[in-house]
Symmetry: C2
Subunit: 451 residues, 2 copies
């Protein structure tokens, strides 16, 4: 591995700080406090390429010396995607953070992997394009990782997931060769769908060095509605009912009573105090006329599922206020952690009709194990997150968390669901993936290894 | 090859008529009057499997004897997808036409490859599910082929393409092994996106024997608007303007003045006589309130692009009438063909801002070549079709058609577009694909052949 590094340093000697072997740097890239998987290995170097050619050179040399490369962008993944089990080179795209081209008339944008999606949207807003990029994962997420895990977030029920928004990718393959998946048509049936193959492949098939993404039109108006229910089943039935009525909501999110309590305790949304009940958050978008009608309809439906308390935002200030509980949910959890406590944040997805059942079963199990867990769901997609907080100083707590996650995943698979709706496999869910799709499908994904 | 067939016949001797070598049958499967490619080879047998196990057995035996298999469902593809250049076995799924399971609460459906999408939608309507499958290719298209070519049609601007609607696939691989890509979650980031890989792979990676598809909610109401313009540029600008305003139209289709004339001449929509101008057809869907607003807005925008003649449907009868020109466009063309005339129907897609330019350039070239061509476009996606009618009895006519198609494809690629937006590559566009994505990308798609 050292030989590979010195060869890279030699070949790219004109590039300042192309490689780092600084201890802090290695730790920052190989270890993640967010991750469900904490390995005790680190990369042996971090590469800081500035362009596709340099990445190609690094890949060529690493290929020759059989040194693994671990692409790194936002570092906010949850299943150990940036871990370095075999050492190797972590490749940080921090210097490749340019918005290369905004094609307003074509409604697309060309970006480098280290562009943060929130910055992209800021820029599109500042330029008054009337366009935005509608994926909505953690604010720290960057395009490279978002492609890698096929991210989505709260907007997926309306806008789909990352793979629906990729027009083309420039990819450096393992041996250093460079391919571009397509040109810039918004729609194509030409050849294998390589976009769809690389999106979600978690860096295992190649390194994405540039991407063209579709943009969507910013809705004229938004509103937010917050609706507490008596039970998880009521909330999920109401959400499903809204979707089955074809009401084009921009997002519908569930937070359970525990998560609502945590937001109250976290205090970041004060002076507002939330009802500590299973609660739906609707984001509504469209013309004023559409919004008024949607609000009336959603209100009618939620009432028919036992909610007596429908609140909607009349202006932007109220929108921000009402959405704040959803937005602050993770930060409230993090802020309330005591010394020695860690958080396990995981997701699964199931067919719509099974969502309430699996949420309730998972909550019951967490309660019977005596661990702290709360639930947030992208209910329109049958996808939800369980956040488990456990005390690393108490013996057996980590094992309990592990049991809860493992059983939730098993349950999702038994319900014909998936071990992850949006976080990806990483190292945390390799076994779960095999349980989900079977060894034949794994063998097709990874034909050289016998499973 | 004969050995393979007798081995299949022996192994599946209990299945009635599993193989046919009847001349008519071979011709029906290997030759297509729709196709841009007419080879003088035929398959040496047609297989009629009843289930995945039989397909697996046939694949295993064909693999052993190196006999190609050509999957066959609706037979309406346009680029020679069902042709048999090396003989082999055409595999017709006609006995696998079952809707296996409708999961109304999960908004999905499990189907066999020979289900016709129009029949599926009929059944969903009859059962009053309030759901439908929103892809909209030729009415004769079947699910197997629709998956194979990543089909779409008029609804794509709102609903996306086939790959967005596949939940899982059961696939028989070349060696006869059977995999299932996923279970039934509507959203997943687990493992490689094999759905996206098989969709659009045109039968080259495996044989799809069963699919689970997402369903959409049937809109409460529809309307149709028909708007003639003075020029193609005006029509395309108006369509783009509507999209950039975020007006959620269900479809927006363009037909040029020639296509409008042909519909008049075809007479299938009589007594209605259409203006023979470039015309936009809007399909609008939603609540009554939404429809009223959309109609007003679309009217305002089209007027600002020089249209003086906005017509919209007030009821279902008028909808059918107004949409009829779009629907009958291909049949009118076919009906008006004279003896010896054939039709070449091809498609390309370009970035939105280039659509009007390429349509105009392609029409001008057809005119200068003196051939009959008309244009239909899925303008919201930058995708359009050119239908060329040529006289096979006149020397040089076929070559002219070929020149027109070749140049249109070249032009699309020069504009950063694609050689096909929805029809696929087949045999007709293999060279165009390489021109479009380059030899490196082709090599990644097909690593064993040096290109």
């Amino acid at each position: 591995m050292k030989q590979a590094i010195s060869e890279i340093e030699h070949e790219l000697r004109d590039v300042e700080d192309i490689m780092s072997t600084d201890d802090e740097d290695l730790k920052m890239h190989g270890f993640s406090e967010w991750s469900s998987v904490k390995l005790d290995t680190l990369p042996i170097a971090v590469a800081y390429p500035r362009n596709t050619e340099q990445i190609s050179a690094i890949a060529r040399i690493c290929h020759k010396w059989k040194v693994p490369i671990i692409p790194y962008s936002g570092g906010s993944s949850l299943e150990g995607h940036t871990a370095a089990p075999f050492g190797g080179v972590s490749m940080d795209f921090v210097y490749m953070d340019r918005i290369v081209q905004i094609n307003e008339d074509d409604m697309d944008v060309v970006v480098q992997p280290s562009v943060q999606w929130v910055d992209l949207n800021e820029k599109l807003k500042r330029m008054k394009t009337g366009l935005f990029f509608p994926m909505d994962p953690a604010p720290s997420a960057k395009i490279g990782g978002m492609i890698s895990t096929n991210c989505s977030g709260t907007n997926a029920v309306h806008y789909g997931t990352m793979r629906d928004w990729v027009v083309n990718l420039t990819v450096v393959l393992a041996d250093g060769s460079v391919i571009k998946t397509r040109q810039r048509p918004r729609k194509s049936s030409a050849g294998y769908n390589l976009n769809g193959l690389f999106v979600g492949s978690e860096g295992t098939l190649g390194i994405v060095t540039e991407a063209t993404l579709k943009l969507a039109v910013v809705p004229e108006n938004y509103s937010v509605a917050v609706v507490p229910f008596n039970t998880i089943h009521d909330a999920v039935s109401a959400a499903t009912h809204v979707i089955r009525k074809g009401i084009p909501v921009a997002a519908v999110e569930l937070m359970d009573e525990t998560q609502m309590r945590i937001v109250n305790e976290g205090g970041t949304t004060r002076p507002r105090v939330w009802k500590e009940k299973p609660t739906l958050f609707f984001k509504l978008a469209g013309s004023k006329v559409m919004l008024d009608e949607m609000i009336q309809r959603v209100k009618g439906i939620t009432e028919s599922h036992g909610s007596e308390d429908f609140e909607f935002a009349r202006d932007e200030r109220e929108q921000t206020l009402l959405w704040s509980a959803r937005k602050e949910s993770l930060y409230s959890l993090l802020a309330l952690r005591k010394d020695g406590e860690e958080m396990w944040n995981t997701d699964v997805a199931v067919p719509l009709s099974r969502l309430a059942d699996i949420i309730v079963a998972s909550k019951e199990e967490a309660a019977s194990l005596g661990i702290n867990a709360c639930v947030k769901g992208h209910v329109g997609d049958g996808n939800f997150h369980e956040n488990i907080t456990y005390d690393t100083t108490k013996p057996g707590e980590f094992e309990k968390a592990k049991t809860a996650v493992k059983n939730m995943v098993r349950r999702a698979i038994e319900m014909e669901g998936t071990c992850t709706g949006e976080h990806g496999i990483g190292f945390g869910k390799k076994e779960a993936l095999e349980l989900e799709v079977g060894s034949g499908t794994i063998l097709f994904m990874e034909p050289r290894e016998s499973v």
